[in-house]
């Protein structure tokens, strides 16, 4: 696999155990059970949602493939004896499936594909991976094994048969496959209609055998060539269809296969949705919605998106990261128990314990809120639990309303910004979302420049945008937008009126005509100057006035609704903001970690004695750290004797400050042994290796060596 990354947290354990884990760490609250349940249900909801989205996105591709497959062997089905069919070379129908470089996502696509095929086309599907097929022999074994097994899956009745087959060592050759296929199809033919199963009636008489090469790039040329040559010889008896999963570009077919082989194939191209679009849809459906109470903070979202864009392009990993955020949030934030659907909030707020109330009071955003209240209310909030609960519930409801409004207004703003030249606020809604979450968007330069640009939009664009905004606001669930919609509609009618009015006066047009009449260069220049002057000094037209009004109105909406979430009270409950934790989990830096561990053992061991200052080498550190630090000072080749000398000096320095002359010429055996051990540990870690150039030297393998 490529771009693989395994999230390193506690997932997929048995539920009881996880609940227990939740409790064991967060001793300060008794809501762990509830938090765990909430987390689970939320994740399940999100998971089913994402699966649904992915299914929808892949639908087009899968439909195309299914129609291709059903077409591919139709000639074979009809057994036409036409002249062209006789003369034509029978090519193997092949689908080249270009899936993009996000190999981790392919599994899901292939699973969906094989499910769909199983339902619609054929029960005979084999999925082959390059790592299982280093040679043609292994490939045939895998193929035969998978095909014969899938048969037994369907026919559970003929269990004895299959056991027999597996016992007397199947001959993994094409001929055995052909005889198997004949048997299978004959069996379904001869079956009486009453016995006929549901599944077989959906397939044809002789369904094609689909062989999927999951990662075309990794297959060796020889294996593929041999397989294609062999199967093309038997295409008349065994209706094969190949599907190549391609991560890069379809050119790879020509690169891997010579013309003599590729001429045996009848390749059609299928392209899956770009992973960036996929991500946009996921973000749109998962994050920019008020359906899920859990939200991502700006930094966290940025980390996830950066990993996606910079590193792997994998939507699966993005979702895994999102899952990690959910787990981490519910695990580390005791108040996350309130991060639930609005209907449950009331009940949960009133069942909060005193400790939890204290937790609320400790939230920075709540403190800010308290400070703004008058003194009587301040005291009530800080001392009276039930008052606090009431207030909390109200605040949470406010937060919910804020979300609803936020999303709608964000979409409206996106309608405007996404059509501006050069996209000062980003082309995608996710960029806009991040910008809004980060700080007050209206204070940024980009926002300023995009407003400038918006003031120069032409009328048709403006009208369509306004219409889109009206639609978005109408469809949103927020209650506050009635007035806004009215206002926007008013703008629209004003534009309409303007159009009628403008038809009457065509002053500027006439001056243009005048300009065309003049041929004299001097006069032309003069009139042009005049025109320019007049334009500058001219009062704004009605349209321009209206345009300003519209832009100002949008601006006011933005200022009102797109307040960054950090400014909202109690945002800590629903927003996950621990970006550093997430980065540590998802974007591991092994080299840095190793270097820190060896260079600064205090970091991990937490031993006060190890705390060193500056570049000095402490002799209390573990041997390997001393050896490592010493080796950093060396070049590409390290003399072992010198190294040992240095090591013993460091070690002896503290132990025997008044070292005798005797110990200086003869190194202690124990120190020698410790040194050897530390060096071999370094070798094991891959920092050094024995060198063949000089016998008593070792070569450095890491930085600084070159």
């Amino acid at each position: 696999g490529c771009f693989v990354f395994k999230p390193s947290t506690k997932k997929r354990r048995s539920s009881e155990k996880t609940a227990h884990d939740f409790r064991s760490r967060s001793d300060d609250s008794e809501d762990t059970e509830l938090r765990f349940v909430t987390c689970q249900s939320l994740w399940n909801q999100i998971k089913s949602e994402t699966e649904q989205i992915q299914e929808d996105l892949n639908k087009q591709l899968l439909d195309n493939l299914v129609s291709f497959l059903s077409r591919s062997h139709s000639e074979f089905q009809e057994k036409t004896t036409e002249w062209t069919c006789r003369m034509k070379f029978r090519e193997i129908p092949t689908a080249a499936l270009v899936l993009g470089v996000n190999v981790t996502d392919h599994d899901l696509t292939f699973r969906g594909l094989s499910d769909v095929l199983q339902d619609n086309i054929t029960p005979y599907i084999a999925l082959l991976e390059a790592k299982d097929c280093p040679g043609i022999k292994n490939l045939m074994q895998k193929l035969v094994g998978q095909l014969m097994n899938c048969d037994t899956d369907v026919d559970s009745l003929e269990d004895e048969d299959c056991v027999q087959v597996s016992q007397n060592r199947i001959r993994c050759s094409m001929s055995s496959l052909i005889s198997w296929y004949e048997n299978v199809t004959k069996k379904t033919d001869s079956e009486t209609p009453s016995k006929k199963r549901n599944s077989s009636s959906r397939h044809w008489q002789s369904p094609p055998v689909v062989v999927i090469f999951k990662d075309m790039e990794s297959f060796t040329t020889k294996v593929l060539q041999d397989f294609i040559v062999i199967s093309s010889q038997h295409i008349h008896e065994l209706p094969l269809v190949l599907i190549f999963g391609i991560a890069t570009s379809p050119m790879i077919i020509h690169r891997l296969l010579p013309h003599s082989v590729s001429s045996l194939l009848c390749v059609e191209l299928f392209q899956s949705l770009s992973c960036k679009e996929h991500l946009s849809t996921i973000i749109d459906k998962l994050l920019l919605t008020s359906r899920f109470p859990f939200k991502l903070g700006e930094k966290v979202l940025q980390v996830l998106i950066n990993i996606f864009l910079y590193h792997d392009f994998s939507v699966q990993n993005f979702i895994k990261g999102f899952q990690l955020c959910i787990v981490e949030h519910f695990y580390s934030q005791p108040l996350s128990v309130l991060c639930c659907q609005l209907v449950d909030v009331k009940k949960r707020v009133y069942s909060l314990s005193h400790d939890q109330c204290e937790n609320i009071r400790r939230l920075p955003s709540f403190r800010r809120y308290v400070e703004k209240q008058e003194s009587g209310k301040q005291i009530a909030l800080l001392t009276n639990d039930s008052f606090l609960k009431e207030e909390t519930q109200k605040l949470l409801e406010d937060l919910y309303v804020y979300h609803e409004n936020y999303v709608s207004v964000l979409r409206c703003l996106h309608v405007f910004t996404s059509s501006l030249p050069k996209y000062p606020l980003g082309k995608q809604i996710r960029e806009l979302h991040c910008a809004c979450l980060e700080n007050r968007v209206w204070e940024t330069e980009e926002y300023e420049s995009s407003l400038q640009l918006a003031r120069m939009l032409n009328k048709t664009d403006l009208v369509t945008m306004l219409q889109q905004c009206v639609e978005i606001l109408m469809s949103s669930s927020g209650k506050e937008f009635d007035k806004t919609v009215e206002k926007l509609k008013e703008f629209l009618t004003q534009f309409q009126n303007l159009e009628e009015a403008s038809q009457e006066r065509d002053v500027s047009v006439s001056s243009q005509k005048e300009l065309q009449k003049k041929t004299d260069l001097y006069h032309l220049q003069k009139t042009l100057l005049e025109l320019k002057e007049s334009r500058r000094s001219k009062k704004l037209t009605k349209f321009e006035m209206l345009r300003f009004e519209v832009v100002d109105y949008i601006d006011s909406l933005v200022r009102k609704y797109l307040v960054p979430a950090d400014n909202r009270t109690l945002h800590e409950i629903v927003y996950f903001n621990a970006a550093t934790v997430l980065r540590g989990h998802l974007n591991a830096a092994p080299r840095t970690a190793l270097h820190t561990a060896l260079n600064n053992p205090h970091w991990y061991l937490k031993n006060q004695a190890l705390k060193c200052d500056g570049g000095g080498i402490s002799n209390k550190a573990p041997d390997i750290c001393i050896v490592y630090k010493l080796h950093l000072e060396c070049g590409r080749l390290i003399n072992l004797v010198d190294w040992l000398e240095a090591f013993s000096t460091v070690v002896m320095a503290a132990e025997e400050p008044n070292a005798d002359a005797a110990s200086s010429d003869e190194v202690d055996d124990i120190i020698h042994a410790r040194f050897i051990r530390a060096v071999s540990e370094l070798e094991l870690l891959g920092f050094i290796k024995p060198s063949k150039q000089k016998t008593d030297h070792v070569a450095r393998l890491t930085w600084g060596g070159c």
Binding site: C2, F3, V4, F5, R71, W83, T84, M87, K88, F89, E91, P93, T94, V98, V101, V103, I136, K137, N168, R171, S173, M174, S175, D215, S218, D226, V229, I230, Q233, A247, T248, S249, P250, M251, I252, H254, H259, S260, S262, L265, C266, V267, E268, Q271, S274, C275, F308, Y310, H311, D312, F313, N587, A588, A589, P590, G686, K689, L701, W703, C706
Partner: protein, 433 residues
């Protein structure tokens, strides 16, 4: 034209055979004279070679089946191990001897077993008096099996002491086979390529029933005129002929031209065939897509070929890694300091110019480079700081699996892995944009 004559076989069969193998009469008559009569011992092994689709397999198969000589026909690509091959030969022998009876799977691991079982099989078939022919197609595969297989097949007659002849078919010459000095030299025979006249004759032979032979032959003439320069493969030509014939007939079907109006037909088909040469022949678009296009009367321009989709979307750092790899592969190490260091000092121009190589590095192909150099170049070409995270390293591995980079000398992972960049300049240009 030499008519096939042989006292051992009836004249009718020979005539039929002759009609089936046009342009190969001399080879067939040669083979017949080597084979001799049915019960006569023939040459122990015959090696036939010739270019792709010069009719080796076809001629052997038709010869053996029309004359009803006992034979076994095996493709060595399909039976890729010696065990499979031997078992397949035996099972074919058995199945032809007793059709109704279910053949039990034979086990044959070694050549010794094979000789023993072979004798049994031959005895059970009761054809001691007839020569048995074992034809091994794509015999070049035999070289990759155990060392004793090929010499043993060459001397099978001697080893089994039965009347058997092994025929090897291959596309490469015997000199590339010769396993060792003592091996038995087979009788070698060359099948020359078909000439354009031959191709014309063979292709015109099976014309569609709806049209006259002359009409079809004129079409083949045009087809060969276009394709003969690039393709002499009979199979491919026949395929192309079948694909494009419908288009050729179009004016006739519509009644705009009659069958003799060659010029008009030529005008109609010629650009079409040229387009076919650029698309279908190269497998840029598949033949079924081509047919559909013809059917709908659309222009092939709307369908993009496979090579049109060259663009590959890569993550941000993958792009930079690939560019860095390209730079490392094609720039000599000594220029690194000059290109990637901020304060590289003065360039000693004269010195550099003198040393400048005449041959472009692109002609020499990519050179391997160590991982450290790749990362160093990466750090210098990316604007902001890059942390050497696990993600960066895993991207290098994924680039290797995507075949955009390739690993050189993968014996030791710890020993500073070395890579090569395998993509072209155009690809890098597209990415760097």
């Amino acid at each position: 034209m030499p008519n096939l004559e042989h006292p051992a076989y009836p004249a009718a069969d020979l005539l039929h055979l002759e009609s089936l193998v046009p342009c190969r009469e001399s080879q067939v008559s040669m083979l017949l004279s080597i084979f001799g009569e049915r019960q006569q011992f023939s040459f122990p092994s015959i090696f036939i070679y010739g270019h792709t689709s010069s009719g080796k397999t076809y001629v052997m198969q038709t010869l053996l089946t029309t004359l009803q000589l006992p034979h076994v026909f095996v493709n060595c690509v399909e039976y890729f191990t010696s065990q499979f091959l031997l078992e397949e030969i035996l099972s074919q022998l058995q199945s032809s001897s007793s059709d109704a009876e279910q053949t039990c799977p034979v086990h044959c691991d070694t050549l010794n077993d094979f000789v023993r079982l072979f004798k049994q099989a031959v005895a059970s078939r009761e054809l001691q008096d007839q020569t048995l022919y074992i034809v091994l197609d794509r015999a070049e595969q035999l070289r990759e099996m155990e060392a004793n297989i090929l010499p043993a097949f060459l001397r099978l007659q001697e080893l089994t002491d039965r009347n058997v002849t092994v025929v090897l078919l291959s596309e490469i010459v015997w000199e590339l086979f010769r396993p060792n000095v003592q091996c038995f030299e087979p009788f070698t025979m060359y099948f020359p390529d078909y000439s354009i006249g031959h191709l014309q004759k063979i292709l015109s032979q099976n014309h569609p029933p709806e049209y006259s032979a002359d009409f079809y032959s004129a079409y083949i003439n045009i087809l060969l005129g276009v394709f003969y320069m690039v393709c002499r493969d009979l199979k491919e030509l026949r395929h192309l002929a079948a694909l494009n014939f419908a288009k050729y007939c179009e004016p006739v079907v519509r009644g705009e031209a009659n069958e003799r109006d060659t010029r008009k037909l030529w005008k109609n088909i010629e650009p079409h065939l040229k387009k076919a040469m650029q698309t279908v022949y190269l497998r840029e678009i598949s033949s079924s897509q081509w047919e559909r296009l013809q059917h709908d009367g659309g222009e092939p321009g709307q369908l993009k070929g496979l090579s049109a989709h060259t663009h590959v979307e890569l993550p941000y750092y993958s792009k930079f890694l690939l560019i860095a790899a390209y730079l490392a592969s094609y720039n000599p190490v000594r220029t690194d300091k000059r290109f990637f260091l901020k304060h590289h000092g003065k360039i000693r121009k004269t010195n550099f110019m003198k040393k400048h190589e005449k041959t472009s590095n692109h002609l020499l192909g990519p050179k391997p480079f160590p991982l450290d150099r790749l990362l160093a170049i990466l750090y210098s070409i990316v604007d902001n700081r890059v942390a050497p995270t696990a993600n960066i390293f895993s991207q290098i591995t994924s680039l290797v699996t995507l075949q955009l980079l390739s690993m050189v000398g993968q014996n030791d992972q710890l020993d500073g892995p070395r890579y090569k960049c395998t993509v072209s300049l155009d690809f890098i240009r597209a990415i760097a944009r």
